[in-house]
Amino acid sequence: MVQIDKVNKSYGGTQVLFDIDLEVSQGETVCIIGPSGSGKSTLLRCVNYLEEINSGQIWVDHDLVGYRVAGGRLHELRENEACKQRVDIGMVFQNFNLFPHMTAIDNITLGPILAKRISKANARKAAQELLNRVGLGGKEHHYPSQLSGGQQQRVAIARALAMEPKVMLFDEPTSALDPELVGEVLAVMKDLAQSGSTTMLVVTHEIGFAREVADRVVFMDAGRIVEVGSPSELLDTPKEERTRAFLSAVLA
């Protein structure tokens, strides 16, 4: 479903991703862990074409991210084509990034109405169902500022799901939450992962969550993938020294 091939990415002079290779199959949940600044967010942003890569290729469901093939040539995408591509990729951000001037339901229906041109009524019906699914039935008309952090993040997840994306990207979805509120967001994500139909790429610091729901765990450091493995392999018997050091610091 997602294939990342020898991706390199620099900001100005400094390279932040080095030859990243990663494959995620349909329905799989992959968790990415790693220290701050290791390039986890950057990788997700490249998959969503929020950043351009310097070399390598990223494929999402047989589409080359950022390019179109026609007449035997690769054409860079124009902005509106890139927009269409992003419709297939849902993203949940660390700071929720809900639109503060819109109610929960307006946040959720905005994308379907504007980018997918779904009728307002249908969009609202679907949004209502999603809100129920993330446990927020009854909060339709609350503004983000009237919701707790955990509730805001659940709205954000519903907003991404409303686009019916092929892949969901999560960038530290719980690290801006109060500890008491982390659980409710993880529960929603667990649900999603275990339904088996959603392909998920999750950057997280919640080792317990990764252990429980990930099909595979990726450890990144300094812009490289250091180690990939099943949760038990990577978390309990890491092969690399760097992974061990990180895990001992985090689990301390």
């Binding site: 929020l50 419709v87 951000f93 990034n97 503060p100 001037h101 504007l114 980018a115």
Partner: protein, 329 residues
């Protein structure tokens, strides 16, 4: 927060209960006790101290901070205001009956109307131009952002009076407004320039160009003030640049844009007086025209000032409500 503090200050005396010397006589006085730093600090409050504290009743005696400075300031300000009012009201050089008789005179109200029209029209047009200039300025293309930069620089740098003279006298440069291919003979459409650029149109154009340059910097600051995460979230939903601006960024930028627009509106209102160089017929010009005949300069300037103040008050109230609405959520 300041109101909460004031409430708190008032509330404390009534509720605080600390024993005084006059209270149920503890062995040392309260002050000595509190001040006595020699008391060995055991780190644990002794039972005796506890009791002292609980029994002290100073409820009637809390002395709030006196802000002498504020009192003095109040008196000084009041005196100055009084003196200025007095000086203005009784000044032999100012004939208030002249002010009164002109305040609602036809030519003054006409001038006011022209000023309001000029200001309102220019405000709307310049706002649109400012948004365009600000968006172009943030374009990734060097050419596009360069054009916007040059536009803003040029129209901020050229004195308004010069701009107005040029725009108001376009006939100096071209006699016909022609749509065609430059440096060729091909012409699609042509109209005498003075027919299009009446003094009023020229005034609006000149004011709008100048104001849009100033405003674009404000709009740009507003657009930049919107969290980058909002752009990312909108893009991730598949919204294109235009929709992101329209539905996500501009509504949020309004909060930052509107307050300094107050300054700009007032500046524009005042600037509109400059259109007299191209025969604009605005409020201040009308006042000066009358004073040129009846030689009551000060009185007519006061008339104009009163009207400006009225307009500014009305707009400020309006702005206050818009700000409240954009800040609400």
């Amino acid at each position: 927060m300041s109101r909460d503090r004031a409430d708190a200050r008032r509330a404390i005396p009534a509720r605080t209960r600390v024993t005084s010397r006059r209270g149920a006589g503890p062995p040392t006085t309260f002050e000595e006790h509190v001040m006595n730093k020699e008391t060995p600090d055991t780190g644990v409050i002794t039972q005796m101290e506890r009791q002292v504290r609980e029994e002290v009743d100073l409820s009637a005696k809390v002395v709030p901070v006196r802000h002498w400075g504020r009192g003095v300031l109040t008196v000084i300000v009041a005196l100055i205001a009084l003196q200025i009012t007095w000086a203005l009201a009784t000044n032999e050089h100012i004939h208030w009956e002249v002010v009164a008789s002109h305040l609602f005179s036809g030519s003054i109200l006409n001038g006011l109307w022209v000023t309001l029209q000029l200001t309102a029209l220019s405000l709307v047009i310049s706002l649109v131009l400012a948004v365009i200039a600000a968006v172009l300025r943030m374009s990734k293309s060097k050419v596009v952002s360069g054009v916007s930069f040059a536009y803003v620089f040029f129209f901020r740098a050229i004195p308004l009076i010069v701009l107005l003279i040029f725009v108001g006298n376009l006939g100096l440069f071209v006699t016909e407004l022609t749509l065609g291919i430059p440096f060729t003979e091909i012409v699609f459409f042509s109209i005498p320039v003075n027919q299009v650029f009446t003094p009023f149109v020229a005034s609006v154009v000149g004011l709008s160009l100048a104001a849009s340059a100033y405003m674009s910097e404000i709009v740009r600051a507003g657009l930049l003030s919107v969290n980058r995460g909002q752009y990312a979230a909108a893009m991730a939903l598949g919204l294109d640049r235009g929709k992101t601006l329209r539905y996500i960024v501009i509504p949020q930028a309004m909060r930052v844009i509107i307050p300094p627009m107050g300054n700009e509106f007032i500046t524009m209102l005042k600037m509109s007086a400059l259109v007299s160089v191209i025969a604009g017929g605005d409020l201040l010009t009308a006042a000066q025209a009358i004073s040129g005949v009846n030689y009551r300069t000060i009185e007519l300037l006061i008339v104009a000032t009163i009207w400006y103040i009225v307009v500014i008050i009305v707009v400020s109230v309006f702005q206050y409500f818009i700000e409240r609405r954009t800040a609400e959520k």
